[in-house]
């Protein structure tokens, strides 16, 4: 149990996927102009990351590894994730229309979201068990949601601030991110 908690805290705060590992920066900058939008994207990513982990773990450990096909992991994972996203989209559209309207528009963007692919590769390289993989996936994507929410909040304030002309738009966002990341460095000692 305690190792699951460790995995969770490490992935959620200490190695925050955006602020400490620079993964999924495109959507971090692109989707945080509005708090509601950032939450929608964060939840959609959480949903797909957990689903993808649940699918890629058995594929790797039960199909690729016994047959010595580990080198195909990049190819297989990207195709599986793309197909999965498509299936989830179809399913939501037909069965849960309300959920589809809430996060369906974010789903196609997720195929090229590096966070999901990175999570599935990390689970393989860290040799996690199935349960550990799922906990890891949940933690990473909640960390993603947290970082998105933080920046979205700051951006609301930035709209009404006087920013030097050369810092306008993207540079100021990265400067902000840098300061948020400094705060996150403080979590480093949380786990021995």
């Amino acid at each position: 149990m305690s190792d699951l908690v460790k995995i969770f805290v490490a992935a959620f705060l200490i190695n925050n996927i955006i602020l400490m590992r620079f993964i999924a920066l495109c959507s971090y900058i692109g989707m945080t102009s509005d708090v509601g939008q950032s939450v929608g994207m964060g939840l959609a990513v959480t949903f797909v990351t957990v689903m993808a982990s649940a699918v890629t773990w058995p594929i790797y450990h039960w199909i690729l590894k016994p047959n010595g096909l580990e080198f195909l992991e990049i190819l297989v994972f990207i195709v599986v994730i793309a197909a999965l996203v498509q299936l989830v989209e179809f399913y939501l559209k037909k069965s849960v229309p309300s959920l589809y309207h809430a996060m369906g528009i974010y789903l196609p963007l997720i195929t090229t979201n590096c966070a999901i692919l990175a999570v599935t590769f990390d689970q393989i390289t860290s040799n996690y068990t199935f349960v550990q993989s799922i906990v890891f996936a949940v933690a990473v994507s909640l960390g993603y949601l947290l970082a998105m929410l933080l920046l979205a909040g700051v951006r609301q304030r930035l709209k009404n601030s006087a920013i030097p002309a050369f810092m306008m738009e993207t540079p100021i966002l990265y400067l902000t991110t840098s300061i948020i990341a400094v705060a996150f460095m403080g979590f480093a000692g949380l786990i021995k």
Binding site: L25, M31, I74, T125, M167, P171, Y174
Partner: protein, 222 residues
């Protein structure tokens, strides 16, 4: 010849993927703790980009429009796998220090973006030069970021001691926040420079399709 040259310059400066189109940012900050890593990542991406653009451009008239995205993905994934295995075999140290970012080239928006926007419509030679220009444009920014971070954070350049021994390395620049900061400042500098240079002309910043929400909500199927 002149046209090919202008395609190259386009990627290097005019439409630089990192500073102007602003795609493929993840790896630009993650691997740039040392100049060697920056060069390694630049070479890896350039290889995947040029080869994918070459292949897609060769088959551009044979690929059905409706399933082009999966086909592009598979071509890119194949070259990324080749690159990943080569790196592991010949540069194990470099490969280890870049970790997950080599396989992540497959979802790097630069590759998908250029393949979709350029080589699926252009002849082979143009596509190859576009790949070269974009790849090198990406690489030189990577090296610029890495140089600042390595020099200030470690006092070295490419592993050679540059700063005097009295210089206390500022670890901050090696750590993630330093990456964000250096990138922000480089980008601010480049924006300012562009504003001065292009004072008369108005630059048209292209937004990248894979990371922003489409206007009508009917996002593209991947």
């Amino acid at each position: 010849m002149k046209r090919l040259f202008s395609i190259l310059i386009n990627g290097l400066i005019v439409e630089n993927p990192l500073f102007v189109i602003m795609i493929g940012l993840c790896s630009a900050m993650a691997v740039t703790t040392t100049v060697a890593n920056g060069i390694g990542m630049g070479v890896a991406l350039t290889f995947v980009l040029v080869m994918s653009e070459l292949i897609i451009s060769l088959f551009r008239n044979l690929i059905p429009d409706s399933i082009r995205m999966p086909i592009f993905l598979i071509v890119i994934a194949a070259f990324t796998t080749i690159m990943d295995l080569e790196m592991k075999a010949y540069f194990p140290v470099l490969s280890k220090s870049m970790g997950v970012f080599i396989p992540l080239v497959v979802v790097n928006c630069i590759v998908m973006g250029r393949v979709e926007a350029y080589s699926s419509k252009q002849p082979v030679l143009n596509s190859v030069f576009d790949g070269l220009g974009m790849g090198l444009g990406y690489s030189w920014i990577l090296i610029a970021i890495a140089a600042v971070r390595e020099l200030l954070g470690n006092g070295t350049l490419l592993g050679f001691q540059i700063m005097p021994s009295s210089f206390e390395p500022m670890i901050f620049f090696i750590l993630p926040p330093g990456g964000f900061l250096v990138f922000a400042l480089w980008m601010a500098a480049s924006n300012d420079l562009r504003r001065i240079l292009l004072a008369g002309r108005k630059p048209e910043p292209t937004q990248d399709s894979c990371c922003t929400l489409p206007e009508d909500g009917s996002a593209e199927k991947a």
